[in-house]
């Protein structure tokens, strides 16, 4: 939660109240399915010495409607979600699934090998693997005997 508070956002007189509301919901699990950050898509970040991996939930988004671009230090994900499964003449009795477009950018903490970035999409989970550039990988420093 700390990082969220540190994020820059315009001042909002109700901000503290909403934060409290969010913390309550999180603590008592009122809406556990909501993103902890409120951003779409929600992301989990994994790291190893050699790479960074982002895992995102994109409910109902088709692979063809996703656009991923990466440069030295930014990864941008754009997408659209269309609800086109409804048969003609069908009437909605309940609608909870949303429709629309989204953009999310990630500032990468180190340079990556853009040519080797790989993305995999299955069952609405997007996995992007970003191999660290040589310069960002840990290097063994040998100690010379004096």
């Amino acid at each position: 939660m700390l990082w969220r508070r540190m994020r820059q956002s315009p001042w909002n007189p109700w901000g503290d109240l909403w934060n409290l509301h969010d913390e309550f919901n999180r603590a008592f699990g009122a809406y556990p399915w909501q993103n902890l950050s409120g951003e779409f898509p929600a992301v989990n970040v994994y790291e190893s010495d050699k790479a960074l991996e982002l895992s995102m939930k994109l409910p109902g988004v088709k692979a063809k409607d996703l656009d991923i671009s990466v440069n030295q230090d930014t990864l941008t994900l754009k997408g659209t979600r269309e609800l086109d499964e409804a048969p003609k003449g069908a009437q909605y009795l309940r609608q909870e699934r949303g429709e629309g477009s989204f953009v999310r950018s990630f500032a990468l903490p180190f340079p990556v090998n853009t040519a080797d970035v790989a993305a995999h999409y299955a069952d609405c989970i997007l996995t992007v693997r970003l191999p660290k550039a040589e310069s960002a990988q840990p290097r063994k420093i040998s100690i010379k005997a004096g």
Partner: protein
């Protein structure tokens, strides 16, 4: 450039929770649509494939469940989280008598569960002819 020294103590509480592999139960978002012949239920269950989905019918109640295989990539460490990686979906619905329970069909494709609940034949709209006497 400054260096952030990370220790176990200052890890985000959510990361710590994720590392304990607590499974959270999520309620999938659903759309329910009605056509002349059937009722259609669409549920978003990202991460769930056709092998991991269960549908239970019990009297008037219909329960959909879905789980996901272990999500952690090998040899990697979670450093930031916006959703609990270990989760499963579950939601229960009550059906009316107009649904033909024997003919319910389900398709799980690309993370979306599609249930077709046909209406009982007798209740499908029918034109009643008026005979002259």
């Amino acid at each position: 450039m400054s260096t952030e020294v990370r220790t176990v103590d200052n890890k985000d509480a959510n990361v710590q929770r994720a590392e304990r592999h607590e499974t959270v139960v999520l309620s999938p978002a659903v759309d329910i649509l009605e056509t002349e012949k059937d009722v259609l239920l669409l549920a978003d269950m990202p991460g769930v494939n056709e092998k991991n989905v269960d549908i239970d019918l019990h009297g008037n109640s219909l329960t959909i469940k879905g789980h996901r295989d272990s999500p952690v990539p090998a040899g990697m460490e979670l450093i930031r989280t916006e959703y609990q990686p270990d989760y499963r979906y579950e939601r229960q619905f009550t059906m009316g008598d107009t649904i033909d329970r024997e003919k319910i069909t389900a398709v799980m494709k690309d993370g979306v569960l599609r249930l077709t609940l046909p209406k009982v034949k007798e209740l499908a709209p029918r034109r009643i002819e008026v005979k002259a006497c």
